[in-house]
Amino acid sequence: MRKAAALLFTLGLLFLLSVMFLRFELGQAPMRIGKDILAAAPEQVGAANIVTSVVLGYRGLDTLGEIAILFTAATATGLILSGLGGGQRRDPEGGFILRHGADLVFPFLMLVGMYIVVHGHLTPGGGFQGGVVLAAAFFLPLLARPSRAVSHSALGWIEGLAGASFIVIGLWALTLDQAFMTPWLHQGVLGELFSAGTLPLLYLALGLKVGAELASLLAHLAEVEASE
């Protein structure tokens, strides 16, 4: 009975959403600010990747909010998972291939991650995507060697300082009598690595922060799993 009702209401939702959204055709959206941004972004921000201009420029505050959410989730997870067990690990060590494979891949992952991060303003990619790769680089050794304790202190410092530098870069604009997050470095030439003002710096901070955040989240969850 309950399932039937649930099904019925789900179908109702399906119907309503269809009524609301299927009226729209792709590409028929007015794109009001989208067009403006497409036109103005190359001059205003100077990043080849316009999505990056939006993420770090036009909607930079969203991005700050979003790393804050990640940080919050990591902190909250840490809070609720702390005080659980002694972290006695019972997972077996990874085998030879896994351990050495992880060691081998680690620098490459780091490299790829950093590359994606620092080229975020030029190509698809950026702090989030790169940060996830960085987190994977940190997490891989954890899977290979479950007995090795993660230094939460170090991760904490990385995520704290990375986040702080993001904000400080943004706040620096205030000393120049500009609004928060106004890019204050020279724009450079469109398409070059050192271009788009403060954007690469922000992405760097972002990448580090996301990487550290995800790594610490995963580490927290892994520790609980291990102490199961």
Binding site: K3, A6, L7, F9, T10, L11, L13, L14, L17, S18, F21, L22, F24, E25, L26, G27, A29, M31, I33, G34, K35, I37, L38, A41, P42, A48, N49, I50, V51, S53, V54, V55, Y58, R59, D62, T63, G65, E66, I67, I69, L70, T72, A73, A74, A76, T77, I80, L81, L84, T123, P124, F128, L190, G191, V210, L217, H220, L221, V224, E225
Partner: protein
Amino acid sequence: MIPELHVGWVLFAGAIGLIAIGVGGLLMSRDLFRVVLALAITEAGANLLLVLSGYRFDAIAPIVTNEVGGVMVDPVPQAMVLTAIVIGVGVQALALGLVLRIYRAYGSIDVAEVRRRMDDDIAAEAGLPLPSGREKPAVHS
């Protein structure tokens, strides 16, 4: 235009379908872990819908290159979706952490059982008779 219209319809329908599947999962799951998964599916659907709201087939990715490009896609929904995805990740991680702790506390992740135990715990803390009629709540960490 007809094939485009058709594909657009499919994409929208897919997004809406994801939402419906997720909501159905939310309603029917008795398992907290499945609830988390259902929530993730629902969010995925909503994100898809969001990114579709600025998408067009005749346009290219919004990256300025040396080649002469055509019309570009609206970059704003893409940025929004990026944000929304990351938010979803954070929420899901926290949800998993909570599920873990609930399992540790109650030894179960069944929705009804957890609900019952929670009511008992709240009542016990307040010094009220337990709603489930048991003597006292089982010990938990």
